[in-house]
Structures are given as C-alpha cells and as structure tokens.
Symmetry: C2
C-alpha cells in the first residue's frame, strides 16, 4: 500500500507488525490512553544501592526477549549503554531490544552484539556511526524503529514501546534514587529524554559516577520512579558529552543564508512581543539566532521562550532579557548546564512535554519559528534527515518532525548543494518530516515557500528576497550538479520510520 | 469482623463497598499497578482558555454521579471549591462526589448541597468545620472516605479513586495551562497535593485569578496535564491561605514538652550529620524545632533535609545551613513561599513522592524524626487525630500516618490533659495511625516509649527524662481528670478511615 505521501509501505512488516500508514500530521489525535504501569513498592528501610550492573540486571529479573532503554544526554561520551550491554552479553542473554533515545559512534560495540543475536531490535530517534551503518546493511534481525523525540515519549506512554528495564545514566544520584543532571564530572544538564522511561518502565536503574548522600537536590528524576542505584567508576567522557562553546559560522554562504532567514522571519510578522524560537546547535543555526537577536534588540521585542536542545548562545539571549524563559530538554554546552542549574525560568521539560502529540499540549505547539536542517527536500517539501543520499542511515528525526508540526513557521535552512549533490530532489530517499509541516526553505540561491502558505508568499512579495518555486530551486541546483542518479536499494526493510503519532511515514531499505 | 487492631468493621459498607481490613503498616506492599489514564490530545492552535467555570464544566462533559477533585493549598482561604460547586448545583447536576484533599470551615456551603443531593460522596484527608460536623451527623448520603496524604495519591494512582474532572486552584496560570503557585495575589507555594489529580484525572481545569502570557515559569504543574484554563476574579483570600508568621509557643508547658522532646531526639542517637526532620506548624512543634536547632548548632551537625508542610522557621534553619535541602508539599507561610520560589534546594514534592506507600520509595521513608500531635492515644499507642472525644470529625490523618510509618522516630508531642480530658485512653474513639508506627509520647508529666522500641527504652535510661509506661501515664492523667465517660454513638457509619495502603483502619459512627 501507499501512505498519504505516496510512500510504498507493506501492510505488515515481519519483526515489526501491522503498519498504521501515515495519514497527515494531525490526523491521529483525539482520545488516547496512557498505559498502566507496574511498580514494585519500596519496603521502607531497604537499600536501593547495588554493587554492580550485573546485580541490577539480576534484581530486575531481565530475561531473553526483554526491552531495555537508555537516554542520550551523554551523547558521544556515553559509557552506560555499552557497560550494560557488555554485562547483558556476558550473562548469556539473547534477543534483547535496545530502546536508546539516540545512538552515536561510541556505541559501536552494539554491532557485534547484533551479529551474535544478543541484540535483535533497536528503537532510536536518531542514530549515526557504525550501528546506523550496520542496520543499513541488514545486520539487525528485526527492522529498527525510528521515532521522533515526541513520538518516543508517546510510544512509551501508550504502551506501544514497553520497557522492561530503563537504565538511566545519572551524573549525580543519591542513595534513594533521586537523580540530577547538573552535578558530577559527567554533568549534562536536563534529563528530559529519560523521563518517560523512568515513569513507564517496569524497573528503573540509575547508573551513576557521583553517588551522593540523600537528597541529590535539585532533582531532575525523583526517587519515586527509581528502583535501584549502581555506582560505577565513570558514566561517560565529558569531552563527548558537551561541546565547549558553540560558535556562529564564519562561512560567508552560511551567514548569507542566516541573514535571509532572519529577513523571512521578520517579514512573517511573528517577530513581536511574545515571540518564541528554537534553533539547533550548528553554526548556521546559531547565525540565524544572532541575526534574530539583532532584530529583537532593534525592535525592542521580548520573546516568551526559546526551546530546545539549548546552547550557550540561546542562554545569552535569555540572560539579556530577549526571552522570558527557556524550555530545555537537553543542554548542549556548559553554559546551558550552568543556566539550567541556576535559573528557575530556565525550565527543564520531558520529551513528552516537549513534543508528544498525545498529551494535552506539547511545547512545540507554541513555537512561532523553528529552524531546521535537511539532507534532502522534495518538491512536495517532504524532508529527509534520516538517510544520506546513498541510502545509509545517518540521523533521524529527533525533534525535527515534532517542532515542524508545532511551529507556525518551520524553516529549512540549508546550502542548495552539499557534497556535489542537490538538496532539492524529486523524491526523498526517505521521508522523515511531511511537507505539510514545512513552510519555507532558505538556501543561498533562493527561497521557496510551501504553496499552502499563500499568506507567507504574499508577505515575502514586499521584500527583496529571492523567492521562487521549489521547482525553480531544484533546477538551479541541478544546473550546478547535474541530475543525481537514483540509488539502488535492496527490497529488505531495515528500519521503520514512525511519525510522531505512531503511524508509519516511510521505511528504510537495505543498502546494496 | 475485626481488623488487626481489634477495630470492629463490617465486611461490606453500603455506599463504600467491600472492606479490606487493615493488616499492619507494611502488610500491603509488593507489586502494584498504576492505572491507565485517558487523555484528550491537544489539537495544535486550539485555545485552552475558557470564559467561565460553567463552560469548563460543560466542555468536560461532567455528568450526574461524577467525581470532581480539589486541592487544599489555599486552605481556609479557598474560593474555588465553592465556586465550582455552586455552578454544579445551578446546572442541576446530582450525585456528585467531591474529592478534596482537605476541607475547611470556608467550605460550609457544601452542607446544603449534601442535603439537597447534589453532593453524595466526600473524599478528604482532613476536614474541620461545618462539613465535618454535618458528615458526623449523617447528612451525607454515602460514608465519607478519609485518606492520608500519601494514601490519597495512592488511591488516585491505583484507580481506587477515579477523578472525572480535577479543578486546580492556580495562583498563576498561563494560556496553555502551565500553573505555578508562587506568583499572583493568592500565591501559596508548592502545589504538591494537586499533582496526582493533574496526572490521573480524565479532565483537568486550572482556575486562576492571575492568567499570564505563556509560559508561567517556574512551572509547578505542566501544560501537558491541563485541558482548560478559566480566569476568575479571585481564587481565594490571602488571609486564609497563609499565616503571616508562625511563632514558637511561649506557654511554659509547651516549652517544657518541647525541651524534653529534643532530649529524646538527642538520646536516640539520630542527631548526627545527615539528620532529617519534620514537624508541624503549631507553637509546640516549632519550639521542638528551636531546641533541635540549638542542639544541631552546638554539635556542629548538618542535616540532610527537613520535610513537610514547611514554615518560615524551618526555612531559617535551612538558610543557616542546618539542612542541605527542604522537601515541600505545602508552604505554610510567606517565608516558605519565597524560599521555595528562589532556592533550587528547596524542592517541591507531590503528595505521592511525599507519602505514597505504593511507589518506589516516598520521602517519608527517609525521615529520622517526625513530631506529631494527637487527640487521643491508647495504651497500644494507636493515635486518633480524626475525631474529637465527642466523636465528631475534626481532623484526619493528613500526613500523620504516612510520616509515622516512615520515620525512624515518630514522637507524639502533647499535653497530657486537654479540655479536662486525658489524652491517654484505654481505647481511641477512632484510630487514625496504628500504634506500631508510634515510637514515643512526650507529655509534660512523663514520657512513654512503645514497648517494641526496647532499644530506645535502653537509651533513655541514660537520661534523667521521666520515662514510664503508657499505663502509668494514663493513670496520672486519670488521677487529674477522673476516668472519662465512654461516648455513645449511633450504629450508622458516616466515614471510613482508610490507612495509607487502602485498607480500612477504622470507621466513624454517626454522633447521637
């Protein structure tokens, strides 16, 4: 069958199950149920502190076939996933499903465990590096399931993704399981992605390298959700966890795109008191923030909130009074961590509060402007950030689809050609985010507005910006690069791309 | 049948159902299930702000027989419960169950609604004033159900108490339902008792007199839990919400009891680094805190946390560095509100985190010393704080049973005779907290230790404190007052006293 975007998807996928086809960004709301949760009540006086990860696995009664989960705030510095899986393998457990909110190059040891059948399933919102490549090559028994950040929270809360044991990398934990992310040598700030895991898993284990006396205030994840605490030597490499300073691009092309983007924002009419904004940590994204900051100061505007993945640059804007608050699901650098630690208006949020479409209203619903990237964007404005143009998985939605769906103005900011390949294509290799959620694409050669946004097209007519159709933009790109060759993929499905509501927006095929 | 305390309880109570008899404070732990939650997903762009309480009731589709809930942080200054019920009555709804975490004299209009059949059920952790008296007289159709603070959270989370619509008095709310308790003219601090309601009710309505632009940081209850927001003129009378300053007693008897209590604490050996402590807002309780403070300073002790209902006096100890943190479910005065607002180590907690026995570990489990009151205490150390000696409901457990169960040393602090009646009796009129949870009673005439605590009896032998058996204490009291006459009660059950685990520890009979 084909879903509403015309993507060819089977009705049933072995190792995944029955497919609910994507039917539109807001087609699947209404009444939902958050699943019941099984909890082992604490016996007062009993300790939660265990000596080893092995003891925790045993106490949790982990069995073949179980699903274990991890969060990715330690990013490419994370040791916890590998430590736990090494122990799982040593214990002879098989057929384990790994639900990691994201997977990085550091998690390469998973590849051998996929080959040996210890790991047979993977759920992730984002993956890059050897694990992503191995999955693309068909080394995982069942198709991987790729969620969005909000969609993962939805899947966990609804019971679609049942977690037997959640292992939470805890920069600081106390003896009764309270966890904070702002202290300890592996401090990473908010722990927003781990919160659904803690609330819905059958068993929850905090793994920490900073076990402190009770209570570990300020608390990010409370004791009432944590069964056991294990102290280890190190949960991660700080160099991989936080970037020192995030910097604005100096590349003139990036700066040009950023400047044009700020002009689009200005023309949109959204730049007024109460303005809300999210951007990524890349150099061009930060440059957009810098131009927006200039405009806000010139116009004397105070925004309501900035959200995200938060960088020091956004914190500076907040500290200068340009935003009243920050919603933070993940701190990208030390300045963001410090701010989150010290300022009550720098508010942590769970992945569910951030982007889950199946609650009473996520933060993304209140975003005015979202700055996004793309690997490919097709003439219907569908965006691929999941696979490279060679078909290999090299990313995933993360918050892409969530914020695009919620924001009043979702802007793709990209160079028109990358690695000698055009970004605008006839058909994306994989669709991550549906075109209906994308309002405009800004490149150094031109700007294309989604035809649905007739209002925005009108507004941009009053500017000198190089607005054109997306077909025109595609032609400019192809005139530079030639028409790209269509890649050849195998028929085998190696990953399911779930939209945030749990429907299937696309599948990823095995690379040849 | 009789429960383990020998209290006569029917196996089935009309209007309540099958009775699970109390079988010991920790008899009912193990695996439990938190119920599934029905949620109406937000449609992005739709407003949550409604014009009137009536509109909210209609949007929530409230029907005859439904259960609506309220929290009591506005205490005797609360307007919200009456406003909502007035509208419910006007709309002709009948057979409504009111689950209010506590009920105060200000809620007197409920009495007429009980008579007219608008209200047929009441759930509360504490009640005083006209509603309590009316229930004692048999004016409510079904028996009221009295919970503990932690037990109410348990009942809500387990589904034993299903809430159709939760109405949350919100000192500040934004247009998308984020609520904070620290700003606005009715600021009351933490909103801990309302959190289970927000998380588990079918529909959640914030009623505020300080509707602010999005987002209302710092957030106590998040937007993802709130369906609708209604702005009203006033949610409460600040004079009834917070006491100006809580003061240490000047009464020499109270001071004597407090001093002896501090000596018991010192002798117990618990007064060392990491010490944790909770006390109430009464003058004698605060005097205990003052003596404990002196001892901590003299010994150079830093405690781990103070918990509670928090007063300015506890905040002072915290600010002087005597405690590293505060766990706060309810702020009793302005100083507590300010501290909670400004200090990240002054940590809010939900009623579940505070005292629910059916999660992975409540804060009460880590209490060293708890200072408690009593209306009656029997020779088995069972305590009544629910009914007066005339049998009329004038209180309820609140956190009494929760903290007594959790604390290593639960101390009843009381004058031996009150209102010409002895506090120590053969048999309590009502049992609120089981004797197994009570370690010692301190009166101006003597101290009795629970015989189970042979260790403490030994330790107190090294002091000059007037330790005696509880029978001796009773005799001293009776020598002063004469033996009290047994009150005569009707056979009709007007209230069920549920222990924190949902078993029935006692029933309250109608007064003649």
């Amino acid at each position: 069958m084909k879903n509403i975007l015309g993507r060819e998807i089977p009705e049933f996928v072995e190792g995944y199950g029955k497919v609910k086809p994507f039917g539109g960004a807001f087609n699947n709301l209404g009444e939902v149920t958050k699943k019941e949760v099984r909890v082992k009540s604490a016996v007062p006086g009993e300790t939660k502190v265990l000596s080893t990860i092995r003891e925790a696995i045993e106490k949790c009664n982990l069995k073949d076939g179980a699903t274990i989960s991890f969060h990715h705030h330690l990013r490419n510095g994370d040791y916890v996933l590998n430590m736990v899986l090494e122990e799982v393998a040593k214990m002879g457990l098989k057929d384990i499903k790994v639900a990691a909110s994201s997977i990085f190059p550091v998690h390469a040891p998973m590849v051998e465990l996929m080959k040996s059948g210890v790991i047979t399933g993977v759920y992730a919102n984002y993956m890059s590096g050897p694990v992503a490549e191995a999955i693309s090559k068909g080394l995982l028994k069942n198709p991987a399931v790729m969620h969005t950040h909000g969609g993962r929270a939805r899947a966990i809360e609804s019971g679609d993704l049942h977690i037997d044991v959640a292992f939470i990398a805890a920069p600081t934990a106390d003896t009764y399981g309270n966890i904070n992310g702002v202290e300890g040598k592996a401090a990473c700030g908010t722990l927003g992605y781990a919160i659904p895991d803690a609330m819905y898993a059958d068993r929850v284990v905090a793994v920490t390298d900073n076990l402190v006396p009770y209570p570990a205030c300020p608390i990010d994840i409370q004791q009432e959700y944590v069964d056991y605490v294990v102290a280890v030597e190190s949960i991660g490499d700080p160099k991989g966890i936080v970037s020192g300073t995030t910097r604005i691009t100096k590349d003139p092309v990036g700066l040009k795109i950023a400047k044009m983007t700020s002009q689009v924002i200005e023309a949109s009419g959204l730049l007024k008191d109460g303005f809300s904004f999210q951007t990524g940590a890349g150099g061009t994204s930060l440059a957009v923030a810098a131009y927006v900051k200039e405009l806000m100061k010139k116009k004397g505007i105070q925004g309501s909130f900035a959200a995200g993945g938060v960088t020091g640059y956004i914190v500076e804007m907040f500290e200068e009074g340009l935003f009243r608050s920050i919603f933070d699901v993940q701190c990208f650098d030390l300045k963001a961590i410090e701010s989150y630690k010290n300022n009550k208006a720098h508010q942590g949020m769970s992945a569910s509060m951030y982007g889950n479409p199946h609650n009473r209203g996520a933060v993304v619903n209140n975003l005015d402007v979202m700055i996004l990237g793309a690997t490919e964007i097709d003439v219907d404005f569908n965006v691929n950030v999941t696979t490279g143009s060679n078909g290999v998985i090299m990313g995933g939605s993360g918050g892409h689809s969530d914020t695009a769906a919620g924001a009043k103005l979702a802007i793709i900011v990209t160079q028109l050609v990358k690695g000698r390949l055009p970004i605008v294509v006839d058909k994306c290799t994989t669709v991550t985010t549906p075109g209906e959620s994308i309002d405009v694409i800004v490149t150094e050669r031109g700007i294309a507005v989604n035809p649905r946004r007739t209002d925005l097209i009108e507004k941009l007519k009053t500017t000198n910006l190089p607005v054109m159709t997306i077909e025109e933009l595609k032609k400019i790109a192809e005139d530079m690069t030639g028409k790209p060759e269509k890649i050849q993929l195998d028929d085998e499905i190696v990953a399911i791309v779930e939209y945030r509501d749990g429907t299937v927006i696309d599948v990823v095929k095995k690379v040849k």
